[in-house]
């Protein structure tokens, strides 16, 4: 189980900092920083800059993303913001607007 889960219906207004996996199915406004994976579920609405090892987006994210490993936008996911990651995939049906920097 993930270290931190922000469930559907829960709203976090502020910064989340950690060194463990974070799953967001609720709403986050602020900033998200972790040294592990970040998963944004289908019901999530995130208005935050995200920094992590990897990011998987099935919900809605507005903010810049910096990932040390990879960023994946799932089908149905939406991401608006600049992405800086070594690997980046956009699934068919996903929505994305922003700059991509895949330089190591």
């Amino acid at each position: 189980m993930a270290g931190t889960v922000i469930g559907e219906g829960l709203v976090v207004e502020g910064d989340i900092t950690g060194d463990e996996e974070i799953v967001i199915n609720g709403t986050l406004r602020g900033r998200l920083t972790t040294s592990d994976a970040v998963t944004v579920g289908g019901t999530a609405v995130v208005g935050a800059d995200i920094t992590g090892a990897s990011l998987s987006v099935a919900g809605q994210v507005i903010g810049d993303v910096t990932a040390s490993e990879r960023v994946d936008i799932q089908a149905g996911g939406k991401l608006v913001g600049d992405i800086k990651a070594a690997r980046f995939t956009i699934a068919d049906g996903a929505s994305f607007k922003g700059n991509v920097d895949m330089e190591d």
Binding site: V5, L10, V12, D15, I16, G18
Partner: protein, 254 residues
């Protein structure tokens, strides 16, 4: 909605957390937490802010007010600095709470008996133990001792050993007149003290009380002795060499 949110042990949230559902906090939250469901703050959980929810179960540290619409339970390792408001409040032994605690609201029918039992545990034993056994016994004991003490000294002088009851009844009457007598020597003693007379004035008072009434005197004599002793200035220290002796010696050397 039914999903349980978790703030992991390695996670710090600086900001407010609110919404539906239940929340388990194992990490740190610096901000207010307000959810419609239950809140569990684990032993590693640290919250600096107000926490409100249906039922708060706390094993960690909270610096802020707790408000539970159903219950607030402080487990053994809980440490709460802030006010607690809930219809049901439970504080387990070992928990630390500092603040105002208020059990208000509408406790559920099934919850009412639980609330009564903790109250019964805490309240009745303490008053019963303190009020019933302690005070009456304590009051009775000194009185009895005092009566006995009064009766004993008076009994020996009483010539009638057969009728103890009348003697006891007479005994209290006798000490009453006897007390005013000792009072008289007091003013006498004070009078000599006022003029700050020489040591000559002091010796005369002690002899009169000794030969006078036997029982009251011993009580007063020690009182006198105790008071003047500490008031006396320390005895003068007489220098081995008289004043000016050294100067004279120096002069003689010169």
């Amino acid at each position: 909605m039914a999903e349980i949110s978790v703030i992991g042990a390695g996670t710090v949230v600086s900001g407010h957390v609110h919404g539906d559902g239940s929340l388990e906090i194992l990490g740190r939250v610096e901000g207010d937490v307000s959810v419609t469901g239950d809140v569990i703050i684990g032993a590693s959980g640290r919250v600096r802010g107000n926490v409100s929810g249906a039922q708060l179960t706390i094993s960690g540290h909270v610096q802020g007010d707790l408000r539970g619409t159903r219950a607030v339970l402080l487990e053994r390792d809980a440490r709460v600095v802030g006010d607690i408001t809930s219809p049901r409040v439970a504080i387990a032994p070992g928990a630390l709470a500092r603040g105002h605690v208020q059990t208000d609201g509408e406790p559920g029918a099934a919850l009412a008996p639980r609330q009564v039992t903790p109250a019964a545990r805490v309240a009745p034993p303490a008053p019963v133990a303190r009020v019933a056994p302690a005070t009456p016994v304590a009051r009775v004991a000194p009185l009895a001792v005092a009566r006995v003490a009064l009766a004993r000294p008076h009994l020996p002088p009483a010539p009638a050993p057969a009728a103890r009851q009348p003697s006891v009844a007479k005994a209290p009457a006798r000490p009453e007149p006897a007390r005013p007598e000792p009072a008289r020597p007091e003013p006498r003693r004070v009078e000599p003290a006022r003029p700050v007379a020489a040591p000559v004035a002091a010796p005369p008072p002690p002899p009169p009380p000794a030969p006078a009434a036997a029982p009251p005197e011993p009580a007063f004599v020690p009182v006198r002795a105790i008071n003047p002793e500490p008031r006396r200035p320390p005895p003068p220290v007489i220098p081995v060499l008289g004043k000016g002796v050294k100067a004279k010696k120096k002069k003689s050397r010169d």
